[in-house]
């Protein structure tokens, strides 16, 4: 083997090896981490249970707490106001006499998040503990995640947020996407999310956040002992927000 052949073989081997490594990483990222059935590296898999039977009609405590905690912008125009958590009022199309129902909506922190799949810069990603999060310093503001999210949970900072209610938490510049972070900054230091705390404070106790990998956690118990539903489970996104009484 002369020097030229050696360089060819070595180069080819290196290229093939690098390609295999990249392909393995790509497949692992796609089908491994996002599959959700395995134990996450951190060991935790945060999920939420919303007990609609305990949620009080007209109460917006959770929304207000979220807004203050996370500096979520209100601009006085429904088109550009951001809501990381919101309430919708539903009416049955078929049963005329059926009472209206209020449902709390927020990011479902899907195990297979379409928003993360389409993000061209991987600014939206799923943490190892299952929380779907946006890196606001990387987001280019293409809004593809808003298109891909089937739950309308993605928000965009169309306007600069004036108020900075919680100085301990950053506010976002205009031009980047955002959504509920499940108050990851609080969970990381052992505190519960602001919406859950506020709901407990008013005595409703309709919101629960916990480790779905821990069979002893409150959320695991509620999921195991109630007929829980998730929104549009048929889409296969594996949402981690569970509803009692939906």
């Amino acid at each position: 083997m002369d020097r030229r052949d050696f360089i060819k073989v070595a180069g080819g081997t290196l290229l093939a090896g690098a390609s295999c490594a990249y392909a393995f990483r790509f497949l692992n990222d796609t089908f491994g981490v996002q599959a959700g059935e395995g134990v996450q590296l951190s060991g935790r898999r945060w999920g939420m249970v919303i007990d609609l039977t305990r949620c009080r009609s007209g109460c917006t405590t959770c929304m207000e707490a979220c807004r203050v905690e996370n500096n979520v912008g209100l601009h006085g125009d429904i088109r550009w106001d951001n809501h990381w958590i919101r309430k919708v009022k539903l009416k049955s199309k078929h049963a005329a006499g059926e009472a209206e129902k209020e449902v709390i909506l927020l990011c479902n922190h899907c195990d297979k998040p379409p928003c993360a799949q389409v993000c061209p810069v991987q600014a939206t990603y799923k943490r190892h503990d299952g929380i779907v999060i946006v890196d606001h310093h990387r987001c280019i503001g293409c809004r593809y995640c808003m298109i891909a999210c089937p739950y309308n949970a993605r928000q965009f900072n169309f306007v600069d947020t004036e108020d900075w209610l919680n100085k301990e938490h950053p506010k976002r510049s205009h031009g980047v996407a955002e959504a509920c972070t499940l108050c990851a900054h609080r969970l990381d230091v052992g505190r519960i999310p602001a919406c859950v705390e506020a709901c407990c404070n008013v005595g409703a106790e309709a919101l629960f956040v916990g480790d779905m990998n821990d069979p002893e956690s409150e959320v695991s118990r509620l999921i195991a002992t109630n007929a829980v539903k998730r929104i549009r489970e048929d889409l296969g996104t594996e949402p981690k927000v569970h509803y009692i009484g939906l």
């Binding site: 199309k93 993000c119 061209p120 280019i140 293409c142 169309f158």
Partner: protein, 401 residues
Amino acid sequence: MDIVFERIDDQAAQLRRLMIAFGVLAMAGLLATWWVVEKGIWVTGMYTRVPWGLQIVMAVYYIGLSAGSLVISGLYGVFGKQEYKPFARIAVYVAMLFLIAGLLSILTDQGRLDRVFVEPFVHFNLQSMFSINPILYIGHILICVVYLWALFTERKKLTTVVATLAFGWAFCVHSGTGAIFGFGARMLYESPLLPASFVAAAMASGTALMILLIVGLFKATKRHVDDELIIWLGRFLAVCILVVVYFLALENAYRAYVVELREAAIYYLFDGFHGALFWFGLGIVGLFIPMFILFRRKTGTSIRWIVIASVLVVFGVLCERYVIVLPGLTHPAELFPGMTVVGSALEEGVVSYSVSIVEVLQALGVFGVIGFLFVFGLRVFKLLPTEARALNNQSSSESGP
């Protein structure tokens, strides 16, 4: 027969005036974009429920228009139709410009323009069509540059290779652009037919645009072009329109047939401005009338009528791009089947969208940039032949490139 290509030297004053006009448009677009960057995307009129607007419509439209090179490169470079060689340079140059226009439209639509030049290339995501497409677009622009170089330097073998590559690559480009929507989880987006339908509409609009450019440029610069060449392109355009009609019919028939999608199909076809745009702008004006013109022997062999048909197709495909992008956004995702949302902090249900003046200025700005580059190209590069004759009118013929 040797084809002589020339710059446009004898109409320098007119070209200068055109460049100034396009420059003014480009400046207006630049100012509008600066306004958006400074104030936020809300000034464009887009909002939470309709996060994409005219810039995305124009981006996919421009990308589609670049398919003119796909046709010409296919005819000359791949299938060896020597008589279309005179149009090859201008087709490839225009394709390159429209790809740049597509990229510019996407760029100026981003919330954080300052990050667009770094982040997508540093944090590439193979699963995102938005990540794959810029690579396809930039790749196509580079292929066009090499293709142009091969054409300018008369490298026949390289021309064949690059033309074939451009032909295949363009299919990926247009399929990829269609896939942005086709692979989206919205009732009016999700369709594996969409990328194929996008390719067909791209070929129709690209061919129509090339017909307009060839006839217009040759007439304006007093050069001869044989009618047969344009008539053949007209026939090809007619076939492309037929394919577009077939895909549109199939896609909408499917939506109307599947119970789950029927309500969305009715909204798409019959509701509001986009419904009117679908039937009148796209259906009647953009497809039916051009088809009637092109398939009728008398009008299909008249250059004047072919030009009219081409204008209508170019307009019709713009309507098609609008109805691909917008109704899919204004129509709501069904979160609670069997339920109606009667109250929310967000706008739920069907919402509206109207094009804002800022978006129009941005779109005109992008058009101004490529218009300027187009005229600049005519002035600087030898893009146009002195004449274009059909094979049977040439004194001697050559085989393929």
